[in-house]
Symmetry: C2
């Protein structure tokens, strides 16, 4: 069974996007080097540092991406093809109507809670890993005990405000395991933590 | 002239304390090893891992600590002696009255803004470095261009709510320089960033 990984680029003050969903300098590390990194669909190739290219290999083992409705709407579902080139599961209150792109058959819309979202992602991922997009959905999944690992691409910028990687939750603190690795590269530190089990 | 360093232990979701100023597991790395680390005043020795002890050497070069009134009140001014054993400058709207401990003569209370706070810290620190405590005061100092370096001891825990290292600021994003180092140790990743100049 694949590993369920919550992941995203996060500013040092904890945000994965500005309020308008733009990312400011959070993705600068995608263009910080010369290693060409092909993406599927409409997203042009990245140009990574050697360190970031090696780190990003984990995404080659992803068999399903989970994201929230906000991300889906902002990207218009990546016009039907996620950059990872794999099926996508969207957590939403209501499936969109009339959304039709080549590849849209690879999208699932799950309306009955985070457990069902991750269960659906497991179905489509098979034995491959699952990448859960940072933000509300990732936080819900972490809090529900559905995430195995957190990968944070920590970017040296203070955004000052925006959409947090981890939304607030007054219930209790959640201990993670000791850091597995921290890789410094140009415009980013790649951090990896396992969840306490 | 010394380096001005904003520093603190921060949860992966960005908090340096809970709302009641307690720190939960944020200081677990102080007791994660066997290297005894002496503190001044009332704070008992830490027991650090080898990695954290080496990292923490920077605090030996600190000649003044800057903190906010909230920290001062919560610790009762460390009963007059900061664990670093150096003078302390408190940013406050009003100096306390009747606060008297052995060592209280090493405390300054500055009421006329963050520039004056850091200027006073430079006076008392001489050529040594200045440590600015994470939170509102550190954020003000960063935003005012008064900080040279940020050191974050990033702790693998999600607190869910609390007092942030970096308070919100809608004005603009602030780019930091590339990460200088990231050291993984038990219960912490020590991160170091310089400010863009």
């Amino acid at each position: 069974m694949g590993t369920v990984i919550a992941s995203g680029s996060m500013s040092l003050d904890g945000y994965v996007a500005l309020d308008d969903n733009t990312v400011g300098p959070l993705f600068d590390w995608y263009e910080a080097g010369t290693v060409e990194w092909a993406n599927h669909g409409d997203v042009p190739p990245f140009h990574l540092t050697t360190e970031s290219a090696k780190y990003l290999e984990w995404t080659r083992h992803v068999g399903a991406v989970v994201a929230g409705r906000n991300t889906f709407d902002f990207t218009d579902g990546w016009n039907g093809t996620h950059p990872f080139g794999c099926p996508v599961v969207i957590a939403t209150h209501e499936a969109p109507t009339g959304w039709d792109h080549p590849g849209s058959e690879n999208f699932s819309f799950v309306t009955d809670g985070i457990e069902a979202v991750i269960a659906r992602a497991r179905e489509v991922a098979g034995n491959k890993d699952i990448a859960v997009t940072a933000g509300e959905v990732a936080t819900q999944a972490v809090r529900a005990g559905l995430i195995d690992e957190i990968r944070v691409d920590l970017v040296p910028v203070l955004l000052g405000r925006g959409r947090p990687f981890f939304t607030t939750d007054p219930s209790n603190a959640l201990l993670l395991q000791d850091p597995i690795e921290a890789i410094t590269a140009k415009r980013v530190v790649h951090l990896r933590f396992a969840i306490q089990r």
